[in-house]
Symmetry: C2
Subunit: 412 residues, 2 copies
């Protein structure tokens, strides 16, 4: 990160606090855990201050979350694109339902176990964006398709298409399939002859129905600077567009051409034939996305508001210029940029220890003591959410909801 970005980020962290309803850190705090918030005394759940939660606590600001969902839906619609939000970010059935209610075409999942968990909570339009590489998993996917008729499965490997056809037959269904076409070297079948041959195979197999293609460019999402991000995203997908158009000319079903994300949501409509964007992080934002820069030239990417935070408690104040908190790598991961302390732009938060965070600073806005709370913007939202069993939904600093992270740990 260059120094201009770094300075702007500090300004952002300072402003976040200035505009917040409270930067108040109460003493003594209650420290209620999930069980206490949920359990018998019902009124507690809706009334208590977020500052009274046990920590580390994963919190989402509901006003910001709702604004982010509405803004994304509106922006994509204005560009004649649909949204197919990627649930790998939140893994949370309650949030997926908010996205569906706002008009999403469906949700995506990265892994089969994620799809199964969300389907069990009533999500019925799920697209699994990677292939399954074992016979048992392919069978499970086809059983899921049987229970959830709008389930769509990606495939990027010919032997798996054959296995899927057999499993679909066994399940007594004709399964919806999209071709996962590679952008780069990570996953997916390369565009061109290989992808075309696979699409034709899927089209031909009696128990599979071709629905279109996926082209997710993970590498483009975090390119710093809008102009460069746009140029790279459009260049990277050129080969895929050619293959997509060839499929169309060959009379194959191309009703879905899906990919992109929060970093390219305002670029994807420039891709010919593109139908919908797999946005994820826009819900929450994080220190990584804040740093990529916006289309308006601002080095802080501010299209969406950072809604996801972790509250921590100070457990050591004894050394000048130094604080220890109860939130380390098990609360924040080791992603960079590091957690951003809201209201304290001069603080550097190092979550490198498993159980403890270490904050160093030359100046602070207030004097902190053991037991005080601090609130941090998370480094990278997806893997941080994956550490927690629950997220607290907060409105005007009060707890309004406690949502299970439905597919937490479902990395299979």
């Amino acid at each position: 990160m260059n120094s201009k970005t770094s300075a702007t980020r500090r300004a952002f962290l300072a402003a976040s606090a200035a505009t917040a309803a409270h930067i108040w850190v109460p003493r003594p705090v209650k420290g209620y855990c999930v069980a206490e918030v949920l359990a018998p005394v019902k009124p507690m759940a809706t009334g208590i201050s977020k500052w009274d939660l046990d920590t580390p606590a994963l919190c989402v600001d509901l006003d910001k979350l709702e604004q982010n969902i509405a803004k994304m839906q509106r922006s994509l619609a204005a560009n004649k694109l649909g949204s197919r939000p990627h649930a790998k970010t939140h893994k949370c059935a309650a949030i997926a339902k908010l996205q569906m209610a706002a008009g999403a075409l469906g949700i995506c999942t990265a892994k089969l176990s994620e799809a199964e968990a969300l389907a069990a909570e009533g999500l019925d339009r799920i697209c699994m964006t990677t292939g399954n590489l074992s016979v048992s998993k392919i069978r499970r996917a086809m059983q899921l398709r049987k229970r959830t008729p709008q389930f769509i499965q990606a495939v990027d490997y010919e032997p798996n298409a054959h296995d899927m056809d057999a499993a679909a037959k066994e399940a007594g269904i004709v399964a919806d399939v999209v071709i996962d076409m590679a952008v780069g070297t990570r996953s997916g079948i390369p565009p061109g002859d290989d992808a075309m041959a696979l699409a034709k195979l899927v089209d031909r197999l009696p128990n599979l129905k071709l629905r279109g293609v996926l082209s997710y460019d993970g590498g483009a999402q975090h390119i710093t600077g809008f102009a460069e991000r746009k140029a790279r995203a459009l260049a990277n997908i050129e080969g895929n567009v050619k293959t997509f158009e060839a499929m169309k000319r060959a009379g194959l079903n191309t009703e879905i051409f899906s990919g992109g994300g929060t970093g390219t949501y305002n670029i994807q409509h420039l891709v010919p034939g593109f139908t919908d964007v797999q946005v994820g992080s826009y819900l929450f934002m994080d220190m990584q996305y804040l740093a990529i820069g916006g289309a308006d030239g601002n080095p802080v990417y501010s299209d969406f508001a950072p809604s996801l935070t972790v509250l921590a408690t100070i457990v050591n104040h004894r050394f000048p210029g130094r604080l220890t908190t109860d939130a380390g790598a098990k609360a924040f991961t080791l992603n960079v940029p590091r957690p951003g302390v809201i209201g304290e732009p001069g603080m550097d938060y190092n979550p490198g220890s498993d159980e403890f965070g270490t904050i160093t600073f030359k100046e602070s806005r207030k004097t902190y003591k053991m037991g005080d709370r601090l609130e941090m913007i998370v480094p990278h939202c997806d893997p941080v959410v994956n550490l927690y069993d629950y997220v607290y939904g907060i409105r005007k600093d009060r707890v309004e909801a406690v949502w299970p992270i439905t597919a937490r740990g479902h990395s299979q």
Copy 2:
């Protein structure tokens, strides 16, 4: 890491495979998930090959685990020390019970929610090694002490000692307390007058009973090179020893003087008055501990066998010198050194992407295809275990147990 260590590590990874019963990677694999392994068909649970598990799968080799537990217990006993294994490493009631059965004095936990979860599974000798910083949490700790009479609570802050005394009175108990004395600046009360004053306060408060002190030197555990590690560990704890001896002379109860870990288990007996060691990682080992070097001068620390691995599936083989797997940061964390591929010392495993791992190599022992499995030693055991809901217990490459990670995510 210097090049000698790196070369020795490569040799270790190569040898791990040579001595393993199988480096066999079957095709096609079954890919059974936890639900399939546990569910109706009971014989499946004990019979299936680890290579047939759905991936990413967290596995512990039971022969190695048992050997590690026995060796640690034997080594500490030979030095007239007890073991009080730290459950922050495994968070697993089943493994804690193995440690207790082998003769541990009790277990430690880093957080209260961890202690509550393990106590609910029948662990009754728990020492919580950090203080609680909210009134609600202090009350919960005293309620836990009421249900679990051998629970011991650390304290490092005078106001909390008063709160704990009040909560103990409210619960109708006299609570067992140890003083968490700092080594370094992270947590705990500094040795000297401060610690002495707190010990006297605890001794004086009517509803608390002083049991002794903790002195955990987290920083010393991973110092590379045995001689330097030993020198630093002994120097760092000198002030604590003086305070401990002054407490003894003052007639305070000093029956517990506990700390240390896997990196200093064979050093702690040189600390006067030390009673027991809070060993954790020795169970599993990891790439971090392998790199610290042993007392025998070997740059690979081989006192304990790496028992904890993650199995992954190859999801892209299309590019020479490159493989993609289904195990990224959500399966491995971002700790370094990176995962070590067993049997393939020339492979560099980068788990930097959330959902995918990327392996690069110039040479490999075999040719891999999509659907094949690889097995990796984990970078750092504690936070990797914390990603999974279950660990598979493996003996001679067959599944023998499926253990819930009881306190997974309990970072509060």
